[in-house]
Assembly symmetry: C2
Homo-oligomer: 103 residues x 2
C-alpha cells in the first residue's frame, strides 16, 4: 500500500478552507480516482511538538492506493482538474510526498 | 480524534533504521502509552510529488489519541525514555505536529 500525502505549510497570510476541502475537493478526488483510491484521510494542524509552537502544516490530505502505478493510472488523467481546484480552498502551495505504508 | 505525527526529514547523511523503528521503537511507544493510543501508523518516504524528486521525509510515524489531553497524559510520563530511544534508529531530528482528524 502506498500513501500520497498532500501537506499545506502553515504561515502568515496562509488561508485554508477546511469545509470546502472535506465537502467538495476530497469527494471530487475520490470520484475521479474511483476504486483505485482505497481510502483517504484529512487532518487540520493544531500545534507543533513543543508547547506553544504552531503546526508545520495547516492541513494535510492523504490518499491510499495499492501501488505507485495504481495511483498514477487513477490520478494522472485528472491531475489538471484536481490541481485546478486548489485555489478554491487555499493560497498555499502544497508539499507532496509518496510513501510506502509499513505499519 | 487527534493525530501526533513524527516526521523525519530526509537528507544527505541521514540514516533511519525502519526495521528497528517498526519492531522495537513503535511497539515500545504503544506499550508505554497503553490503551490511550488508539492506533499507530508508519510510512517510509518513496518520492516527492514531481517526477524524479526525493521525498521530504525519510519516514513518518503517527499516533492517534482521543484528545490532546489524552495524549499528554499517556505520553508525558514516558517522554524521556521514548525520546532517548531515537538515537538507536536515526540521526535525524524529527519534526512533530499535532493535528485534528477531520476525515
Amino acid at each position: 500500500m502506498i500513501k500520497v500525502s498532500v501537506m499545506y505549510p502553515a504561515g502568515e497570510g496562509k488561508t485554508f478552507d477546511m469545509d470546502y476541502y472535506c465537502k467538495s475537493h476530497m469527494p471530487m478526488v475520490r470520484q475521479k480516482c474511483g476504486a483505485a483510491c482505497k481510502s483517504m484521510a484529512v487532518e487540520q494542524g493544531l500545534a507543533g511538538g513543543a508547547p506553544g509552537t504552531p503546526p508545520t502544516y495547516a492541513a494535510m490530505g492523504h490518499l491510499y492506493f495499492d501501488s505507485v502505478a495504481a495511483f498514477q493510472a487513477a490520478f494522472g488523467p485528472h491531475t489538471k482538474e484536481i490541481m485546478g481546484d486548489i485555489p478554491n480552498y487555499t493560497n498555499i502551495q502544497p508539499v507532496i510526498q509518496i510513501s510506502e505504508v509499513k505499519m
